[in-house]
Amino acid sequence: MRAKKILIIDDDAELSEELAEVLGAEGYPVENISDGFRAVKMLEKNGYDIVLLDFKMQGITGLDILKEIRAKSPSAAVFFVSGKPGLDAILEEADMAAAVDAIIEKPFDPQTLLDRINAC
């Protein structure tokens, strides 16, 4: 079975790098990008099975990206991986709670994230 392709969208370069290694070690093909606008183009071009999405990024929010993903790649699993407090309420208010597969709050146990990804 083909391993699921993962895109990490997070403007914390070190976190993206370390996380990509954790996932890569589990056999997942992983790409990461810190620029939210470019991420949207990458999504269109490459197509990913799972997107790990930060909320607060330079010039664009994870919510904006989520809307783009749902418009163009409705089947991709989207995990919000964020340290922003009250994210569930923000998603509820934007009527986008159902568009998210999971919210993983930073900092998190790598195994917890792996379990969620493996279950996809």
Partner: protein, 413 residues
Amino acid sequence: MFIKELRALKRALKARGAGAPARARADAEQARLEMEKELRRTRDYLEALIANANVPIVSWDSELHITRFNHACELLTKYDAAEVIGGELSFLFPEGGKNAVLARTPVNSETVEAGISLKHGGTRMVLWNSTGIYEADGKTFAGAIAQGQDITGHRLTEEGLKRDKQTLEKAGRTKALELIDARLELEKAKRLSDIGTLAATVAHELRNPLAAISMAASNIKRKAASPLLEKHLQNIDKKILESNQIISNLLFYSRIRMPQFAAVDITPILEECAVSRGVPIQVDADFSTSHPVEADPVQLKEVFSNIISNACDAVSGCPRGRISIRTTECGKFLRVRIRDTGIGIEKDLLPRIFDPFFTTKAKGTGLGLYVCQQIVKLHDGVITVESEPGKGTTFGINLPRGSRYESKKNTDN
């Protein structure tokens, strides 16, 4: 008028002395009659003046017996003059001190406030102006006369105004205190709002690096796979947990929210909190029995994490330190008891441990137990603490069992 008659009488007497016969006597008699007539007229005039004056006038003799009591006095007191005249002055002025001032024999006029008795009870306050009356020698006291002005209305008005002033001052003070309280509340709310904004920003900014550290530690663990590094990596994980706990407490403190109730099993939450400490401390607990409640699992995790974290700190310096966790069902409550055999808390500090920003530890925000207490209260539960310095501390968390809907229905019934 008297002067004219007196001069005529003097002339008549001189004439009689000079041996003037019958004519002079007749003149003298005539003058005397004229004078008597004039005196009567004057007396009648004065009597009428006193009797019909529209201010109360009363007079008394040297024995302090009332001799005059005019119509205005009658109207004021409802006594008839006949009931009063001849009576003791004290009958009208029962107040000893004021009576004494009135009764004394003023050479010049004297002004004094004195209450006059009323026929049907009570008194009216009158401002009296009294003047002494003396015999022809100018020394012997013959009596006194006093005219008054009823000032009861003024006094009542004054007292009313005084009372109004006091009431207004009191109301003003109360209002001012209310305003101060409201301002303090506003300032507190603003402070909490500011803390909330700060906490949210800090939380986001710190959780990112914490996540990166956690991932890096995980990668090192995998790549190095060395027992020599294991302890250090465990310490990194522990400190990440502690840092995140501080952030959570600060967030909770600044934005206390209502629990999101769900049917949860307490046992795995307790187990997760105990295991996640990741330090070699002996924990006695039975995690095999299920204990369901309706609660907010995130908030319960916050409570147990804080208390277990405190317990770990308390036993960290004790060579044979132990932590035991027991869950028992006590009637309508599920009781979680977390006991440590650590350093304990001084008796005088115990009442303060749930206060925000109070801590007995060298490091700590002092928010953990405050947050625990708030969460347990929001769950309609109770949190208790017992401690003995040198022996350890026991926290008890009682949470209502069963469905919250059923509990509410039973309470309402």
